[in-house]
């Protein structure tokens, strides 16, 4: 479960781990019903519409201004989003 939390980038306290472990096991047990269903030769449904490859022409058009786009950023500088160093030495 710690591995999953790492993949999901969610920090967990030790209490969280205990709390969630039990609940998640309980939920995962319910998935067992899926294994009892025969799906040989059945195509997966990714979504329910007969739509494929919807795209628009590759033409630039007006969009959000830079100012609007970063207006809600927790840390901003000169119109940029600020983060801690991405690459660790």
């Amino acid at each position: 479960m710690l591995h999953v939390a790492k993949l999901a980038r969610i920090g967990l306290t030790d209490e969280d781990v205990v709390k969630f472990q039990g609940q998640l096991s309980q939920i995962l047990e319910h998935f067992d019903v899926l294994n009892q269903i025969d799906t040989d030769g059945v195509e997966p449904t990714t979504h329910t519409l007969p739509l494929q490859g919807i795209a628009r022409p590759d033409e630039p058009a007006p969009s959000l201004s830079q100012e609007a786009a970063v207006a809600n950023a927790p840390a901003r500088q000169d119109g940029y989003l600020r983060v801690r160093a991405v690459l660790e030495e």
């Binding site: 998640l24 019903v33 269903i37 809600n72 801690r84």
Partner: protein
């Protein structure tokens, strides 16, 4: 005529057009009701009173010019999962507590063009994950029919506001029942259109293959009016269908009051042996009304994969959610923890502090289901069962025009009753989830009351139709409503 805040849209339209009431006065009546009751109901996260009155003034000008549409001047509530330009949109999460969208969702653009009045944004389960609105990071919403009970979820605020006269209609979103279930628990009409009918542009995404926006109203005709304003293709949502506008209101007005010629089916899996006897009795009474209107009702319908639908949903929805909620990283918008030593630490703490427990649970389930080694067993398997579920509905619809089922297995439960048992909470949606999985339209229409603890609690009838058959679905709901008038009762607050 009811008090202004309890008018249906259709009734309000008549009075507004005849200048018997102004949009400003109607809005004031609704705002007064919000002030009178919302301290107890807690439907709203944000009330936009000044904006509403300004919109009402503009609506009155439009009405005076003879330029009004069906929704001009009508006060509405928007679920806080839908982006409103310049107005805080929180998804009832600490993560977005201070987020102010720089754009309007497609549905908000449409409603603004119609000249509606926005009373405010409504409380919900955080990021639309829940069935009781108790997962809101801010506060729970209370059912107007019994304040000690839940309004349902995740669109509990919108349902409660509509029931309590705190708006004339509301928008919600429905991924596994989040419009239909609270509609039933609050005694109002709730409709989830066919997947693809209403653009999801500006709807904060939970599960992209399941989410749909829809209305809460106090009559079926009102739902048709709102849907007519919302339905239509939008280039900005690649899953939005390009079909001719259905004109649901005209279809409804043109249909007779009876249901002769209609073939309705009740899938046996929706009347399990352990169904609450009072819910069963109420449902069977509703079936008798439908029969009395001339419809042919058969109980000889089976959707064998129904029992697997909950598991399918709780694999697919969290999986899609884990991808959709990855964007909340504390960098671009929303809450951002800054005191960590590294970018990753900031991100992990942001998500630890910004998300509530249910959201974390679902992200973790989804991450697990999609992870290497488990993808085939869970996600891919669930998608295959999804195909079977849809096929079974399609087969049922070769003999039936609509399917009829209860909406929720119980009326509104007590606040706190299910919060310690996530799986028990998930079962609240057992009758609504399959409809999202199959992408079909579903409507909840009030079907009466069950007395619990000396108080009448609403219950609902679900009408399910084939894809894009909203006109048929609403015709059945409307005929039932006109024959019963449950919608004329309002909670006493």
């Amino acid at each position: 005529m009811p008090d202004p805040q309890f008018l249906t849209i259709s009734q309000a339209r008549t009075l507004l057009d005849r200048r018997e009431i102004s949009a400003v006065d109607l809005t004031r009546a609704v705002l007064d009701e919000v002030e009178r009751v919302d301290g107890r109901v807690r439907a709203y996260t944000t009330v936009t009173a000044d904006l509403a009155l300004e919109q009402a003034r503009l609506a009155d000008e439009r009405i005076a010019r003879g330029d009004a549409g069906p929704l001009t001047g009508i006060p509405a509530c928007i679920k806080d999962v839908i982006c409103t330009d310049g107005v805080r949109t929180t998804c009832s999460s600490r993560m977005l507590e201070e987020f102010v969208p720089p754009y309007d969702a497609h549905v908000v653009e449409r409603l603004k063009a119609c000249g509606i009045v926005m009373i405010g944004k409504s409380n919900m389960d955080e990021f639309a994950m829940g069935s009781s609105t108790e997962n809101s990071a801010f506060f729970a919403t209370h059912n107007p029919w019994d304040l000690g009970r839940v309004p349902g979820g995740s669109s509990g605020g919108s349902a409660a506001a509509t029931a309590a006269g705190e708006c004339l209609f509301a928008l919600g979103s429905d991924t596994g029942g989040s419009i239909r279930q609270p509609a039933a628990l609050c005694g109002v009409v709730g409709v989830k259109p066919t997947y693809g009918r209403v653009s999801r542009y500006g709807l904060v995404a939970f599960a992209s293959s399941l989410d749909q926006i829809g209305p809460f109203t106090r009559s079926v005709r009102d739902a048709a009016l709102v849907l007519d304003a919302l339905i239509g293709h939008d280039d900005r949502d690649s899953t939005s269908v390009a079909l001719e506008a259905p004109n649901l209101t005209a279809a409804l007005d043109g249909s007779g009051p009876d249901l002769r010629g209609l073939r309705a089916g009740v899938p046996r899996e929706y009347l399990p042996d352990n169904l609450d006897p009072l819910v069963r009795a109420n449902f069977l009474e509703a079936i008798e009304v439908i029969r009395g209107l001339g419809a042919e009702v058969t109980f000889d319908v089976s959707l064998p994969s129904t029992d697997a639908a909950l598991a399918v949903y709780y694999v697919l929805a969290p999986s899609e959610a884990s991808a959709n909620l990855a964007r909340y990283d504390g960098v671009k918008y929303g809450f951002g923890y800054q005191q960590g030593g590294s970018m990753w630490e900031n991100m992990e703490r942001t998500r630890q502090l910004g998300f509530g427990d249910e959201v974390k649970r679902r992200i973790m389930i989804g991450t697990y289901a999609l992870s290497a080694g488990y993808y085939d067993a869970f996600y891919l398997k669930a998608q295959k069962v999804r195909t079977l579920i849809r096929r079974e509905f399609d087969a049922a619809f070769t003999n039936c025009d609509v399917l009829l089922t209860p909406v929720a297995p119980t009326p509104a439960f007590r606040l706190g009753e299910k919060t310690n048992d996530p799986v028990a909470m998930y079962f609240s949606d057992v009758f609504t989830i399959p409809v999202n999985i199959a992408g079909l339209p579903g409507a909840s229409v009030p079907s009466g009351f069950i007395e619990v603890g000396g108080k009448p609690l609403p219950v609902g009838l679900q009408v399910i139709a084939p894809t894009f058959a909203e006109a048929q679905m609403l015709r059945v709901a409307n005929a039932y409503e006109q024959a019963t008038n449950w919608h004329e009762r309002h909670p006493l607050l």
